[in-house]
Amino acid sequence: MKKVININFQGQVIAIEETAYELLKQYIGSLKTYFSREEGGDEIVNDIECRIAELFGNRLKHGINCITDEDVKAVIDSIGRPQDFDSDYEETAGTGQESQSSQSETGASGASKSEPWPSDSERQSLHRNSGDQIIGGVCSGLAHYLKTDPVWIRLLFVLFFGFLFWVYIVLWIVLKPKMLESNVSKRLYRNPNDRFIGGVCGGIAAYFRIDSWIPRVLFLVPLMLNMIGMISIFPLNKIFDHVGFNWNINSGMIIIYVVLWAIIPVAKTVKQKLEMMGEEDYIRSIREKVSDNVASSRSRTSGEGNLRPAEERKEVYYTAGSAVKTEENGITGVEEMPPVPPVTERRTEMPSQPRRSGCLNALVVLLKIIFFSFVGIFLLILVGIFIGLLVTGTHLLPLKSLFIDPGYETNLLFTSLGLIFLVPVTAVVVWIIRRAMKAKSRPAIGIVASLLWIAGLALTGILSARIADKFSVESSSERAVSIAPVTSGKMYVEMQPYSEDYAELRTFRTLYGVDFGINHEFDELPYTTINEDSLLFDNINLQIGKSNDSLFHVRVISAIHGRDLRSAKADIAQFSYEIEQKDSLLLLPEFFSVPVEQGFRNQSITVEISVPVGKTVEMSEALRDYKDNRPPAVVRKRIRNYSRNTNYVPVDVSEEGGVYMTLTTDSI
C-alpha cells in the first residue's frame, strides 16, 4: 500500500506515488548540481523536466492511474544518471579543460573518479603558470603549488618588492612554463560587469559577497574627506595636525587601487566569473541582467501568443543565456564547440560596413586622415603645453609660499592643479587604453572627468579670489628718521650693500637667461635670507623734496597690501629698514626685510629726503634705480599731503559761497 500524491510538474498535474516522488526529487536534485556548473544549466534541467513531464503524461494517458517507482526508474534510465553520461559528457564537452577544472570545483556528482592522476603530478612540482600570468606567471605558479589565490602571492611580491624581486627573477629563469588549471574554487577577479574604472571594487565586492558600493566608498572616503577639507566646512587640517596626512592617504588609496588593478586578472570566461562570485550569486546576477531584457523578451513571447507564465520564465532564461554569450565575445563559444570552430573568426570577418562608391570612399578616407592628423597635432601641442607648464610649475613652486598660506590654501592649490591637469591627461590615457582594448564606450567616464575638471576650475577660482583678497587693502605708515644735523652744505646718499649672502628665487630668467616677457612681473621678486626666516625686498623708492626749515629730514614710508587694514598695519610693523648716518653720509640699506610668513604683499619702502634751501644732496649711482622707482599710490598721496602742509594755499571765498583754490607755483 502506497500513498499517492498529486504534484504540479512543469504545469502538468501528475499523480505519483510518494516513494516515486522522492526518487524523482532526488534525481532532479542530482541533475541540478551536475548542470549547475555549465552555462545555462538551469535551462537544461528545465528541458529535462519538461521531457520527464511529457513521458509521465504519456504513461498516464495509457490508462495507468499513477506514476510508480518503476516508471520513474524507467525514465531515469532513459535519460541517464549524471554519472552515466559523465564520460559521454566529458568527451562532448570539448577541450575537456572546463570539465576537468569544474570537477575539482564540485567534488560531487561522481566526477571525482577521473580527478586524481593528472593534478597529482602537477601538485608535486613547481611550474610557472603560462595560463595565468601578469609578467612571468611565477606568482600564479606558486599559488597553484600552495593552492591559494594568485592575487595574494602577487600582493606579497609587490609589498616586499625589494627583496622578492630577485626571488622572482630567479624563479622566472629556473621554472619551466606550463599551462596550469586553477585549483581554488574562489578567486579574486576584476568584475567586468560591475565597474567604474577597472572593476577592482566590483571584484572585491563579489569576492566578499557585499554590495559593490561598499569598497568603492572605502576607496573614495579619504578623497571625499580631503575635498570637504578643501571646501573648509570644518578645518580637517586642524584635526590632523600634519597637513600632508590627507594627501598621504589619498595617494596611498590610488596606489593600492592601481596595484590591485595590475595584479588582479579580469574575469573573462564564464568559469572565471563563477570562481569570482560563486555559483549562486552568478546565477542571480544573470537574473538581474535579465530584468533589463524583460521588455524585449515579453514582446517576443506575446508574439508567440498562447504561452503560459512558466514558459515566459524560460524564455527569459534563454535571453539571459544569449546575453551572457554575446558579452563573452565568443570566447567560450570556442571553448565549448570543439570541432573546427572557425565561427568566431567568420563573425569578425564580415563587418557590416555599407559599400560606398570608390570616389566617395577615397574622400572619406582622406577626410579621416586629415581629421586624425589634426587631432594628433592638437594632442601633441597639448602634451607640449602640459610638459611646459609642469616644468614652469616646478620652478615657480618656491614662489607659491609668497602668495599662498600653508595648509588650507596649499591643499586647495594642489587639488585644483591636480584636477585641472591630471584629469584630462588621465581621461585621454584611459580613452586610449579603452580604445585599444576595444572596450565599450562609457559616457559616464567622460562626464565624471569633465565634472572633475570643472570642479578644478571652480577651486582655482576660489583660490584666486582668496589671493586677490589679500591685496584688497593698501595701507602705509610713516616714521621720521632722526638724523644729526649735517654740518657741510652737502649730503651724500650711499647704498649699503647687504652684507650677508642671500638666496635668489630662481625663475626662468635667472635659470636660463631666457626672457619670456612674463618675467617682468617677477623682476621685483624678493630674495630670502640664508636661513630663510625673512624675505628681502628691494622695492625701495627714493624721493627728494624741499625741506621747510634749514635741516635735512628723512622720512621712511612703508606700504603694503593686505586683507584688511588691521593685518596690514601689523605687517608693516614688522618691516625692518634701518638707515644709518655717518656725519654727512647717509647709508640706505640695499634691502628691507620682512618675516617670511608675510609672503608677497607688494611691500614697498619709500625714503623721502627733504633738502633745505641752499643745500644739496648727492646720490650715488647705485641708487639710480631707487630714484626712478615710482612709489605706490598710497605713498604718493602722503608725499603730496606733506607738500601741502608746507605750502599754505590762499583760499578765496566767493560771494556765491563756493570755495575756489588757487595753487601757488612752487608746489611740487
Partner: protein, 109 residues
C-alpha cells in the same frame, strides 16, 4: 561517441526538419545509436548558445510545450564544415580499412 560525430548526427536530423529532443532521441534509436537524453540536452543547449541552433515553443497535446529546434544560418555553415570533416574522416578510414576488412569501420563507429 567521438567528439563532433554526435553533433553531426543531431544537426543532420534537425536540418532535415525542425525537431524536438524526443524526436531526436527516437530517430537516433531507430538508427541504432544509443544516446542518453541527459547527454542530448546539454549538447543542444551548448549548440543553441553558440548560435548554431535556435528554437521556438510549440504547444503539445501530451504535455508541456516543446522546444522545436532548427538550424540558424551559422548552423548551416557549421553543418557544412562538419560534413566536410566527416567525409574526410570517413573516406580516410574507408581507404585504410577497405584493404583489410569492412567490418572494422562499423565497429569503430
Amino acid at each position: 561517441m567521438r567528439k563532433g560525430v554526435l553533433e553531426y548526427c543531431i544537426l543532420s536530423i534537425i536540418r532535415r526538419s525542425e525537431a524536438y529532443p524526443g524526436d531526436i532521441i527516437d530517430e537516433m534509436k531507430n538508427a541504432g545509436l544509443q544516446l542518453l537524453e541527459g547527454t542530448l540536452y546539454p549538447l543542444l543547449n551548448r549548440l543553441k548558445n553558440a548560435g548554431i541552433l535556435t528554437y521556438q515553443w510549440v504547444e503539445s497535446t501530451s504535455g508541456p510545450p516543446r522546444k522545436y529546434f532548427r538550424l540558424t544560418e551559422k548552423g548551416d555553415e557549421f553543418y557544412v564544415l562538419l560534413q566536410a570533416t566527416w567525409n574526410e574522416l570517413a573516406t580516410g578510414v574507408d581507404t585504410l580499412t577497405q584493404k583489410e576488412d569492412r567490418s572494422d569501420k562499423n565497429q569503430s563507429e
